[in-house]
């Protein structure tokens, strides 16, 4: 919709008017550069918040789950970086796939991914999640989690040490910083 419809505004229904006025405001803000300016100012704040409150899903699959547990332990203490493991996918930002994915698990994992709220990221931890790893010729494993959900960061290792896992999350933070997720950035 565009500004040329303005004379008809009186004849619009409430719903149409809302739609039209939203579109107009949107275009106005875009044209005037206000949107860009607001984005420039707020995006660093949002990205800072997203980086420092990165909740991974509490979901252990295989070997790497133990290193995930060790990473939240006293020696490595992932909570320093604001990572708290939450059990409900609705409240988490990062899906940490830490093990091989089998045919039986694949639909459930896909569903977990879809239950998470945007913005969300996927971290593939360990060889199995990256490419199938030692089970490359198995009849029942999926060769890499990126065959069915998008993966942001790969952490190699079999299993990766907790330091490697934390390093992977730092890489993810860098990625978030680069993307500069802002409120308006979708368009």
């Amino acid at each position: 919709m565009d500004l040329s419809l303005a004379p008809n505004a009186v004849a619009m229904s409430a719903k149409e008017f809302l739609q039209w006025s939203t579109a107009v405001m949107d275009q106005l803000m875009k044209a005037s550069g206000a949107k860009k300016a607001v984005d420039k100012i707020t995006a660093p704040i949002w990205s800072w918040a997203l980086r420092n409150a990165n909740y991974p899903l509490h979901f252990g699959i295989a070997c790497c789950a133990l290193e995930m547990a060790a990473a939240s332990g006293s020696r490595f203490d992932a909570e320093r970086l604001g990572m708290i493991f939450r059990s409900s996918p609705r409240q988490t930002d990062v899906l940490l796939v830490n093990g091989w994915v089998t045919a039986k698990l694949r639909p459930d994992l896909r569903r977990l991914y879809e239950q998470m709220a945007e913005p969300k990221w996927v971290v593939a931890m360990g060889e199995c999640a990256i490419s199938g790893g030692p089970w490359y010729d198995s009849h029942n494993t999926v060769q890499g989690v990126d065959t069915f959900i998008p993966v942001d960061v790969y952490i190699p290792g079999c299993p990766p040490r907790p330091e490697a896992m934390i390093d992977g999350f730092m890489k993810l933070h860098k990625k978030i910083h680069k993307e500069m997720k802002g409120t308006f950035l979708e368009d």
Partner: protein, 359 residues
């Protein structure tokens, strides 16, 4: 005219109204400008501002509590806890801001109206309680004579919100969490109130200010009423749903309990209200048993009050670090068979003291 909190807010309100009046005067609407400066309008704005201040204080206190919990719990477990910002103080802001921009997911099968209302009721009830908690003689919104009763009345709204929220989420885990909240409510509300009754018997008033003044003149009430304090602590921890009594959100068996289906800002509000409730429970304990804002003169009474509350909360964190979670069956039997008799004994002690004329 006003003092304390209201004096502070009144000054701001008067200034604001002057600005508004000046604005209307410049556009020659003198009548409206005059109306804005009438005492009624200023009084109204003062009230609104006071409520705002209370909510901001509640918010700040809650995030201080979250911070304290993370750091103290981390230290108890031989680690550092969050390190975001200076001493991890900015962690909560990061959490809150993140919650703002998370996608809002309303699952298809939920009862949408109730689902959305439950966090609002929860946070509303929690913030409302802050209005009745005086931080000193002067720093309070409504220092009414039945403040204690009112706080407890509002205190028991939250389990109701949990129940309807869990039910509306239409998830087996949330329903069980809500049911447990209801069970906990009926078994812990009574010991909580009974432990309070002993204090009221001794003091003879429902007003927080009277209770604190009584303790200033005599002694801190946890000395004669130590049993009452124990009952109050146990029941209050159960009311606020913290480990070891956090059954409605028992993580091990009910994924995240009744809040499983809540994400984004709703979840943020729930977290916030939990800690506000923690603050209210701690403040009531301080007001009833530890002399409230009474303390040496070299610090403001408000600071004394907050310090005491923080120390008491650290004790709660210690409890959380040391104990494991109990089960529903055990929590109910504990409530009815242990706490109720203890609370009764406590009342008997209070009556005895009163009759003997000690206080």
């Amino acid at each position: 005219m006003y003092e304390g909190l209201y004096g502070f807010v009144y000054g701001i309100a008067v200034f604001l109204m002057q600005v508004v009046a000046w604005f209307f005067n410049t556009i020659t609407l003198h009548g409206i400008a005059d109306w804005f400066q009438t005492p009624g309008v200023v009084w109204f704005v003062t009230q609104i501002l006071a409520a705002l201040v209370v909510f901001i204080v509640a918010f700040l206190v809650a995030i201080t509590f979250i911070w304290e919990e993370r750091k103290v719990l981390g230290r108890l477990m031989d680690r550092r806890g969050t390190q975001v910002g200076v001493l991890g103080l900015f962690q909560n802001f990061a959490d809150g801001l993140k919650a703002f921009i998370k996608e809002i997911i309303i699952p298809t099968d939920v009862d949408k109206w109730v689902y959305n209302a439950a966090p609002v009721i929860l946070i509303g009830a929690s913030a409302l309680m802050m209005g009745f908690i005086p931080m000193s003689d002067t720093w309070s919104i409504a220092n009414i004579s039945v403040g204690l009763l009112l706080v407890f009345a509002v205190f028991s709204i939250a389990p109701f919100a949990i129940l309807i929220g869990g039910w509306a989420s239409n998830n087996k885990y949330t329903v069980m969490g809500g049911m447990r909240a209801a069970a906990q409510l009926i078994s812990y509300e009574i010991p909580l109130l009974l432990s309070m009754v002993a204090v009221v018997i001794l003091v003879g008033s429902f007003s927080f200010a009277d209770i604190v003044h009584f303790q200033e003149q005599n002694t801190w009430l946890f000395i004669p009423l130590i049993l009452g304090f124990i009952v109050f602590t146990v029941a209050a921890i159960a009311e606020v749903e913290r480990i070891p009594f956090d059954l409605p959100e028992a993580e091990a068996e009910l994924v995240e309990g009744w809040q499983t289906e809540y994400g984004g800002m709703r979840f943020g509000l729930i977290m916030l209200s939990e800690y506000i409730r923690g603050f209210v429970a701690c403040s009531i304990a301080v007001l009833l048993f530890f002399g409230g804002w009474a303390g040496p003169d070299w610090l403001w009474p408000e600071i004394w009050f907050i310090l005491k509350v923080l120390i008491l909360f650290a004790f709660w964190i210690w409890i959380r670090g040391a104990l494991v979670r109990v089960t529903t069956k055990q929590i109910l039997s504990l409530g009815w068979t242990r706490l109720m008799p203890l609370a009764m004994v406590n009342i008997a002690i209070a009556i005895g003291l009163k009759v003997a004329g000690v206080f």
